[in-house]
Subunit: 142 residues, 2 copies
DNA sequence: CACATACTATATGCGCGCTTACTAAGGCGC
DNA sequence: GCGCCTTAGTAAGCGCGCATATAGTATGTG
């Protein structure tokens, strides 16, 4: 029983805490842009999807970003309120909303992307040459 | 720009998604015990601290578990409502609450611990012999 | 065409993770 | 004793992450 310094040096417990720390780093990097982590993920994913096949629905965006469809709906409405994205009704399917970035959204995501990438690189710099092995492990778990 | 299959095969993005998946596995493992992940972490950490130095305060528990003190307070009150922990006022410092597990709490954490460890082992089994390297990476990032 | 089925999006609600602000009590210098 | 700073805990509130339920539309089958 004494081999535990917490109840958990289980991989999962470490994973959890590392992710929380990483999210704090992301929050700090995104704060100047007035974006949360999920907002940025959705904007960036939307930017990519628009550039690779045209305006997606909320479903497709959520699937691509790995976000919950429910929350994706909420966040997109807030982003639409801020005029960062537009949510046009799909003429071919009046249930769906076709998403696209407004010019302001495009500009914001471009600026934020740089800070996020810098913060990401800085956060994982401590891994040194083990970074590739680490990423391989993550990919295997996904 | 085309090197991204999302805006992110950044390590952080992978880390985030892996952790979400791991948390779902934990949720499933803990659901039969009517515990959330954080509730379990606090119970398990409390169990360890009580066995290594006596009843801790909420602060000490939060620090040890790596949880937010605010949320720790909320969760502990709910656990106390369920008679899984007790929160006695510290006679030496009337601001602080000395925490301990009730017999029900001890029994529950013992049962839940087994399921959590099994789920954890199962989740990381896919890493095979790279598991140690992965955990080393996590530790380095913490 | 009518009906059943499936799908897109939303409303509601709970628990976490964190921020800001507050109360109350301890410790310290004097 | 008296201020001052620190510390333990709580209150209120925002944004995720998810489960459940519902409205409305599209599609397939008769």
């Amino acid at each position: 029983m004494t081999r535990f310094s917490g109840p958990e040096d289980s991989p999962g417990f470490l994973l959890w805490r590392v992710t929380l720390a990483w999210q704090r780093a992301m929050r700090a990097a995104l704060a100047p842009h007035d974006l949360t982590h999920v907002q940025f993920v959705l904007l960036a994913s939307l930017w990519w999807l628009v550039n690779h096949g045209g305006a997606p629905s909320q479903q497709r965006l959520a699937e691509h970003a790995g976000t919950d469809p429910m929350m994706t709906s909420q966040v997109l409405r807030k982003l639409a309120d801020r005029a960062l994205v537009s949510r046009e009704v799909d003429p071919a399917d009046s249930r769906a909303r076709l998403l696209s970035l407004t010019p302001e959204g495009k500009a914001l995501v471009a600026k934020a992307m740089k800070d996020v990438e810098d913060a990401d690189v800085a956060y994982f710099a401590g891994l040194g040459d083990e970074q590739q092995a680490f990423v391989r492990g993550l990919t295997r778990l996904l």
